[in-house]
């Protein structure tokens, strides 16, 4: 496979990544009472909203400071002030989460100074808290924007008061169903937790007949503060924001508040879920709850029932780096052969992490800083049996006539993409059956006979 070079073009063709403020906006959506504000021109905020609405099928209000030509020359301070005033008036948020853009970063707006200046003038008791994160898109991807924002939030709020019994859970960029499942697991294990961020409600809300300005749910500011006093942090994902920063929320809390950090992969697959539960048992001092023993047992049962349909099949996996890292681990344990693992992210760590953390049976072609046209070209040689990733790879799967297993973000061409569950034994179980069934269906549809049994 040496014929396949690293990214073959100077340009990016059908990007397999998004820009940083998108990640920031999602993280902010996981904070209670928070309205995200993107500091730049209007287009960025509108496009990001549109992109998120198509995935979450929820209202996603993100404000913009609406730069004009003047702001591009003289800086965005006055627009930011006006925006903060207007958001406060209209949304009455508890907190406004500001994310910068390529534009404001290139101009060089000093956010810290501008925000301090604003706060000095606005001392009303009900003015919202302000926080910001620097998210120029010429550095890193949406995954970096997400993790950088989580880091910025703990830096801004976490404080030591007195040690409490809670566990910080830093889940990374997962689906709303994943976040709900993780919370359930923590609860069932008797572990009080602070999950940061938590958009499981705000981006997957029930119907209640109204358009909520700021939907209920999310990590509260009190919890953000208390995160500095927790007794441990669990941080999921090994690559995190390392393309842009050496520090993550978990390492920051460890360094500054001496909170022990457990760094685990996103728990997809039995091994990764076992690792996760092992840490939980250590923290709770109790055995794994019966419920999860049963779930694990059922998953093993399902693996056995379906092993033949997946074994030796060739898969292409793509998406955010941490996500594909865990996905490859899962595929290894069911005997699916990953022939290409690709990401638009560019931490430079992916290959190393896969060999360290997954230690696959054979050499896997790993490509970061890759785009969909690179993947499409690679597919011509690799002849995969299926693709696993977000909905944007559909056009390639269609061309190849192979199934696409929709996972991760974004899913723009199906209902329910925002609540696909990937994590834990149950999430893995659902994934496994989805993959096996897709292969079975493919076989059935291409069989001249049309068998009634598997």
């Amino acid at each position: 496979m040496e014929a396949l070079k690293e990214k073959a073009f100077v340009s990016t063709r059908n990007a397999c990544k998004l820009c940083t403020p998108l990640g920031a906006s999602i993280a902010y959506k996981g904070i209670a009472g928070c309205v995200p504000l993107i500091h730049g021109s209007q287009g960025c905020a509108t496009y990001i909203r549109r992109y998120l609405i198509s995935h979450y099928k929820e209202p996603v209000d993100i404000a913009s400071t609406n730069f004009s030509e003047e702001s591009a020359i003289f800086g965005g301070q006055s627009n930011l002030f006006a925006a903060l005033n207007n958001i406060t008036k209209q949304y009455k948020p508890e907190i406004i989460g500001i994310a910068t853009t390529c534009l404001s970063e290139t101009i060089g707006d000093d956010m810290q100074a501008i925000i301090q200046h604003y706060q000095a003038q606005n001392t009303l008791p009900d003015s919202p808290q302000l926080t910001y994160v620097s998210t120029p898109s010429f550095k890193g991807t949406h995954a970096n924007g997400y993790h950088d924002t989580v880091l910025a939030l703990v830096k801004r709020f976490a404080a030591f008061t007195e040690t409490n019994n809670a566990i910080n859970l830093l889940p990374g960029f997962l689906s709303t169903a994943d976040l709900r499942h993780l919370k359930e697991i923590m609860r069932d294990c008797g572990l009080p937790s602070i999950m940061l961020p938590d958009y499981s409600d705000t981006l997957d809300n029930e119907y209640n007949g109204s358009y909520e300005k700021v939907p209920e749910g999310g990590t509260s500011i009190e919890e953000l503060v208390a995160a500095g006093s927790s007794r441990a942090s669990i941080e999921l994902g090994h690559i995190l924001n390392h393309a842009t920063s050496k520090e993550s929320a978990g390492t920051y809390l460890e360094k500054n508040f001496s909170i022990p950090r457990f760094n685990l992969p996103i728990p997809i697959g039995i091994k990764a879920s076992d690792e996760f539960f092992t840490i939980l048992q250590r923290l709770s001092g109790a055995a794994m709850p019966q419920k999860y023993l049963k779930q694990r047992g059922r998953l093993v049962d399902a693996y056995v029932d379906g092993h033949k349909y997946v074994f030796g099949k060739k898969a292409i996996v793509y998406g955010e780096e941490d996500f594909v890292l865990s996905m490859v681990g899962f595929l290894e344990e069911i005997g699916l052969e990953t022939v290409l693992c690709a990401s638009g992210g560019g931490s430079g760590l992916l290959k190393k992490m896969i060999s360290e953390k997954v230690n696959p049976r054979q050499d896997i072609m790993v490509r970061d800083d890759f785009d969909f046209e690179d993947i499409a070209v690679a597919c011509r040689d690799l002849k995969p049996d299926l693709m696993i990733g977000n909905s944007k790879g559909y056009y390639i799967a269609r061309e190849l006539g192979i199934p696409l297993i929709r996972v991760g973000f974004p899913i723009h061409d199906r209902l329910g993409g925002q609540r696909i569950r990937h994590v834990g034994y149950e999430g893995t179980h659902e994934l496994f059956e989805k993959i096996a069934n897709a292969l079975i269906e493919h076989m059935q549809e291409h069989s001249p006979v049309g068998y009634k049994y598997m």
């Binding site: 287009g43 496009y47 730069f67 209209q90």
Partner: protein, 444 residues
């Protein structure tokens, strides 16, 4: 109602308010506008040109968010469905992106063999000092195709300004091929983007009337056709917002007159055919148009009757990009018994809003550049049963428990022409009559 003070004059209730509907204003900082940026406007217009390369010069976002975003179909090449970006990184932001742009252009032209290329400069390109024009000129010489810079930094205005930028770019292509002879009884179809294949219907109608079509700009567009567009005898422009400017420029430069039309709804669609026949003063064309309309409408009316019957008494709110479309929608809805109670657009101008106000019923709320919070209040106050808009409006409707009909660029259903009217009626029916809404009625 809870409306930002500065936006007060961008909302009018017909029969209640005295003031004119203000428009053409920049969106307020901090409001969650449904509008996009200059780049968006330019891309919307140029992107359906299917055999051109569309390269977005800037950081990745602008390109990633617009990848295959609209349903503009092409009957041939599909280059426009790919998303190309120079994906600027910190290094280029510091040292400039000209080299990257040049290599990107060369490799992409070699790979995809486009007939022309558009290079969109987004927000930071001007600030980092790239001389995009020079790069385009050089590569153009080297590769022998037109490479047209599209200066579209998002902050330089609104989507509407982007339309203007796109029209200027098109003017650079038009007139660069063929003789200057005018083809008799020929038209350019301007301002239809061939969403869900709508343009095919229109082309078919005009051809049946004996009208020759020089270029379709830009739906199912081809570079070489556009280069010869100056040979048409008449321009037919749809969607006042985006492309009247091109028609005006062509009138000034090539003396081609233009007609403004709309293809939504029976009335407007038929008028769009008659007007062309009238313009060419051709009895044969008019006879064919009349026959065509009689045939189509004859087929359609009985089918529509069912929907009208079911939908009579329903109320709709409309919020779309262009005001001209909103006006057609009011009429089309009336035809199926639905009353419009809220109507607005992102980019309407004074003239559009005047017409809109004239044809609206008393008590209708008219609005320019609204935001989710306002729209929610209007829809509730007026007890609308359905909302007609784009993707960003959909969750508003659904969270309020009312129906929604997509009339924007991503729809998969042709809504123009006679067939489109029937599709539209079906769409409205499918959402207004769905039994699921029995569960959304809450009493608070």
């Amino acid at each position: 109602m809870d409306i930002l003070k500065e936006r007060g004059n961008q909302v009018v209730t017909k029969g209640l308010d005295e003031h004119e509907l203000a428009c053409d204003k920049a969106s307020l900082a901090g409001s969650v506008s449904q509008r996009a940026c200059v780049f968006c406007g330019s891309r919307v217009v140029l992107y359906p040109i299917a055999d051109a390369l569309h390269l977005i010069h800037g950081p990745i976002g602008c390109a990633a968010y617009t990848w295959d975003i609209r349903g503009s179909l092409s009957s041939g090449p599909q280059i426009h469905r790919l998303s190309f970006s120079t994906d600027l990184q910190e290094k280029q932001v510091v040292f400039g992106g000209e080299k990257t742009l040049k290599s990107a252009l060369i490799e992409l032209i070699d790979q995809y063999q486009p007939k022309a290329a558009f290079v969109y400069s987004t927000c930071i390109v001007g600030l980092i000092g790239d001389d995009v024009e020079a790069v385009c000129r050089n590569v153009s010489k080297e590769k022998g195709i037109d490479i047209i810079p599209v200066q579209a930094p998002g902050f330089a205005g609104s989507k509407k300004d982007g339309y203007k930028v796109a029209c200027d770019a098109l003017m650079k292509l038009i007139g660069t091929m063929g003789t200057n002879e005018t083809i008799p009884e020929s038209i350019n179809i301007i301002g239809d983007f061939n969403l869900a294949g709508e343009l095919y219907l229109l082309v078919d109608y005009y051809k049946k009337m004996g009208v020759k079509i020089v270029a379709t700009i830009t739906g199912d567009g081809r570079v070489d056709d556009i280069r010869q567009a100056h040979k048409a005898a008449l321009n037919i422009v749809q969607c006042s917002g985006s492309m009247s400017n091109l028609a005006r420029q062509m009138e000034a430069k090539y003396h081609i007159p233009f007609l403004r039309v709309s293809y939504f709804g029976i009335e407007d669609m038929s008028e769009a055919l008659y007007e062309v026949a009238r313009y060419f003063n051709s009895k044969s064309m008019m006879d064919k148009a009349i026959a065509l309309v009689r045939q189509e409408v004859g087929d359609l009316i009985p089918k529509l009757a069912f929907y009208k019957n079911a939908l009579t008494g329903k109320k709709a709110a409309i919020y779309v990009g262009g005001a001209f479309k909103a006006i057609s929608l009011i009429k089309a809805l009336r035809m199926i018994g639905v009353q419009t109670v809220v109507v607005g657009s992102q980019t309407g101008n004074k003239d559009d809003y005047k017409i809109m106000q004239d044809i609206s019923d008393e008590g209708t709320i008219l609005v320019d550049d609204t935001n989710p919070l306002e729209l929610t209040q209007f829809v509730k106050a007026k007890k609308a049963d359905i909302l007609i808009g784009g993707v960003k409006e959909r969750p508003i409707a659904y969270k309020l428990g009312i129906g929604f009909c997509d009339h924007n660029h991503e729809r998969k259903l042709a809504l123009a022409g006679y067939e489109g009217m029937l599709n539209f009626a079906r769409e409205v029916y499918a959402t207004a009559m769905s039994p699921v809404f029995q569960f959304t009625k809450t009493d608070h």
